[in-house]
């Protein structure tokens, strides 16, 4: 099992944005840990600060108050040990699919030979179901396909921690399940720590070891729930189990509460 | 923030002063000085022109060539652009002919205009006119093409006459394109007036440059260029202010 010191640690970390004299509190001070090799899902209504949490872990933002630790060290600049799949489409439009996917392997810091890079690229493209589209430009792909390119691009260099911000929202139900399955297999195989943001509760429960529910803006942790479903989970069938249904009901009540609060304001 | 921008302005002034001082006082010999001249000499020459009034006819010449050519060019371009915009079939037929003319360096027409119209104002106005015309025309066409065809149909069914359609739909929606074209065209009007004068003229700022360069009078040439620089910067400033206030009104 994983050792006791957490991979990621939030200690009273909050985030406030000051834009032209107006300040918005995006995230109230929150504290939680993510254990090594754990799969944590973050759910919450729109605007609750889920993406901000990921940005804090990646080092793109610095907390206004409090501290964020990675592997016991304070995160001071960009955290290169995480792979971040953002909500925004950041696929490079001037590169074909294969070129986009292999970009991480082109970097000197990784020292990967061309042949190996080509093999791994082909593997990844196959994994995300884009075989045959290697030579397409992003402009020729649908939104969902571009998301899959971004996924392949992030997974290919096997970062020790994975941050994902609503990666499967644009995919149809079938494809989504397939991707969830692939993700689960890959992350457990490679022993990755994952922080997964989604608004789809079923997705969260299917994949996660723990589900953190954030409150409406400005976000704070409303609850942390342990998902005791046995592993390995059959992504396609697990949602029909009773245990799943109970978990879903409980969490859904909490989530619904926050969503309503958010819209009241 | 304010502190650093003051610092920047100060820094620029210092750099500028140093540069001008270096130019003025650098110890190069007469040979070099003939080529590069000195700031004070240039300013003195400019003052001479202002003082004895010899600058104004040239300024006036270039200015009037610009303005007349610009107005004629814009008017004809907007009119033709609207007409062709509403007759897409005719537009398509004429398109390659117009494109061919547009691709030709208009400056090459300058001697032709001089032969036909003489060395005076008319030939320069002609060049400015044709340069401005193509620019504004293209923009007007784009603006008209941008209009929602369905909207025009609806109004036509309602019984609107052509002039009403033009006034109420075409012009307002093509207006931003037209204005953009008109703004860009100001610079081109200035440039083509100068170029036309370079070719053959006996008046104007372009003429001044050509005249003084031709007689290797560098100081005179630089003085003329200084006037052009001042005018250019002035025009650019005015244009960007118009652009800003137009943007704000949106």
């Amino acid at each position: 099992m994983s050792s006791s010191s957490p991979k990621i640690s939030f200690e009273g970390a909050s985030k406030q944005f000051d834009v032209r004299g107006n300040s918005t509190l995006a995230l109230q001070p929150i504290s939680f840990d993510v254990k090594k090799e754990e799969f944590v899902a973050l759910v919450g209504p729109s605007g609750c600060g889920k993406s901000t949490v990921l940005n804090l872990i990646s080092g793109l933002f610095q907390p206004t108050e409090g501290k964020v630790f990675y592997d016991g060290e304070l995160i001071r600049n960009l955290n290169r040990r995480v792979g971040y799949m953002t909500q925004k489409d950041t696929v490079l439009p001037w590169r074909k699919t294969a070129e986009n996917v292999r970009i991480a392997l082109e970097l000197k810091c990784r020292n990967v030979g061309r042949k190996e890079a080509a093999e791994r690229t082909a593997q990844m493209i196959d994994l995300v179901g884009l075989k045959g589209f290697e030579k397409h430009y992003p402009g020729e792909l649908s939104g969902g396909m571009r998301k899959r390119v971004a996924l392949a691009r992030t997974l290919i260099y096997e970062p020790e921690t994975l941050l994902m911000d609503e990666p499967f929202g644009a995919l149809d139900a079938q494809l989504r399940l397939i991707m969830l399955d692939q993700l689960q297999k890959l992350t457990s195989q490679r022993r990755m720590t994952v922080v997964f943001v989604t608004h789809d509760l079923a997705e969260a429960i299917t994949l996660a070891d723990r589900v953190i529910v954030l409150s409406a803006r400005p976000g704070r942790i409303r609850s942390i729930t342990e998902i005791t479903l046995p592993r390995p989970r059959d992504v396609f069938k697990v949602r029909f189990s009773e245990a799943f249904a109970t978990l879903h009901e409980t969490l859904w009540d909490e989530l619904k509460d926050e969503v309503v609060k958010g819209t009241d304001v | 923030m304010a502190h650093s921008s003051l610092g920047i302005i100060l820094f620029r002034i210092i750099v500028l002063t140093l540069a001008i001082a270096a130019w003025q006082f650098a110890p190069f010999g007469r040979g070099m000085e003939l080529w590069v001249s000195r700031p004070f000499l240039i300013l003195a020459r400019l003052w001479e022109w202002v003082d004895d009034g010899s600058l104004w006819p040239h300024l006036f010449a270039t200015g009037s060539e610009m303005i007349i050519g610009y107005l004629l060019g814009c008017a004809s371009a907007i009119w033709l652009g609207l007409v062709l915009g509403m007759l897409p079939k005719l537009n398509r037929v004429l398109a390659p002919f117009l494109a061919a003319f547009y691709a030709m360096p208009k400056i090459a027409l300058a001697p032709l205009f001089v032969i036909f119209f003489g060395i005076g104002l008319e030939s320069k106005v002609a060049l400015v006119w044709i340069t401005v015309f193509f620019l504004v025309f293209n923009n007007t066409l784009d603006g008209v093409r941008d209009v929602d065809r369905d909207l025009i149909q609806v109004l036509r069914i309602m019984g609107a006459r052509r002039s009403e359609i033009v006034r109420k739909i075409l012009l307002p929606s093509a207006a931003p394109w037209i204005f953009t074209g008109m703004r860009i065209a100001v610079r081109y009007a200035f440039t083509s007036a100068l170029l036309a004068e370079l070719m053959a003229a006996n008046r104007g700022l372009g003429f001044l440059i050509e005249y003084h360069s031709g007689s290797f009078d560098t100081t005179g040439a630089y003085a003329a260029i200084l006037v052009i620089v001042i005018l250019s910067v002035g025009i650019t400033e005015i244009l960007s202010r118009i652009e800003n206030s137009a943007g704000r009104g949106r």
Binding site: Y137, G139 | I107
Partner: protein, 269 residues
């Protein structure tokens, strides 16, 4: 300050819509051209005025030139363009990137560059001729400067408009600043650079011809001035025609170059 923005997909789509021309249009155009030429020819023959000339004489003139030294003249103008373009584009891109990345340098240099940019460089042609003589050099300098400003501003704009999120993604993956530049910043401003190049190509032709018209022994511009001074209208019309063709070729080339370099900007539905 006009920065020439890259074409948008909407514009490209409208272009292709208009390109769905049927043969009816092409036929009308051919007929129209033929008719105009016919009118010109008959008028020319009937009036027999050297002012108007006629297509047959113009064609004859061009043919004579081709057998003579027309190609040399075209080569001269072309070389002035090419060399000037190479210099202008390389310097423009380098300066644009340097100033675009270094906030400090940009702030300091900005007013100088803006002032210089607002001056129509082509009007300074006599100055360059005074400095460099009547051969190719002053035209090359002129073309270089004109091209430089265009490319510089576009590159500068492109660099400043780079999507920082793209840079952040690659930085997170472990890219060094050099790799960030190579893989993200530079390709990202290519749209802007290409838009600048597309405008700069025809401008190079204008600058070269202008310089030649003021003073030159060779080049297309020199043919114009010689013809004009002799009041040789046929020759004048002939050169204009040649310049029209050259202008079209240059524009077409520029347009295709942009499309090829930016081929990833395809139509997306």
């Amino acid at each position: 300050m006009t920065i020439h923005q890259p074409t948008t997909e909407a514009f490209q789509q409208s272009q292709s819509k208009h390109r769905r021309a049927n043969d009816g249009v092409a036929a009308t155009q051919v007929l129209l051209a033929a008719a105009l030429l016919a009118i010109w020819e008959t008028a020319g023959r009937y009036l027999n005025s050297s002012w108007i000339s006629r297509p047959s004489k113009v064609a004859e003139q061009i043919w004579t030139w081709i057998q003579g030294d027309l190609l040399t003249h075209i080569a001269v103008t072309g070389s002035e363009m090419l060399i000037g373009l190479s210099i202008g584009i390389s310097l423009g891109v380098i300066s644009g990137i340097l100033l675009g990345r270094s906030g400090l340098l940009a702030i300091v240099m900005r007013p100088i560059v803006v002032t210089l940019y607002s001056v129509p460089m082509v009007s300074l042609a006599p100055l360059f001729i005074m400095f460099f003589g009547v051969d190719m050099m002053p035209k090359i300098v002129l073309v270089s400067i004109v091209v430089f400003f265009l490319i510089f501003f576009n590159t500068f704009a492109g660099v400043s408009k780079v999507d920082n999120d793209l840079v952040a993604v690659i930085e997170l993956m472990g890219a060094s600043p050099r790799e960030q530049f190579q893989k993200i910043i530079f390709p990202s401003c290519m749209s802007w650079i290409m838009a600048g190049i597309k405008i700069a190509l025809p401008y190079a032709l204008v600058a070269a011809v202008t310089g030649e018209m003021i003073a030159s022994r060779q080049g297309l511009g020199s043919i114009i001035t010689r013809a004009a001074s002799r009041f040789d209208m046929t020759a004048l019309y002939a050169v204009l025609l040649i310049l029209m063709v050259m202008g079209l070729l240059v524009s077409e080339f520029a347009s295709r170059l942009e499309k090829w370099v930016l081929r990833w900007r395809g139509a997306d539905e």
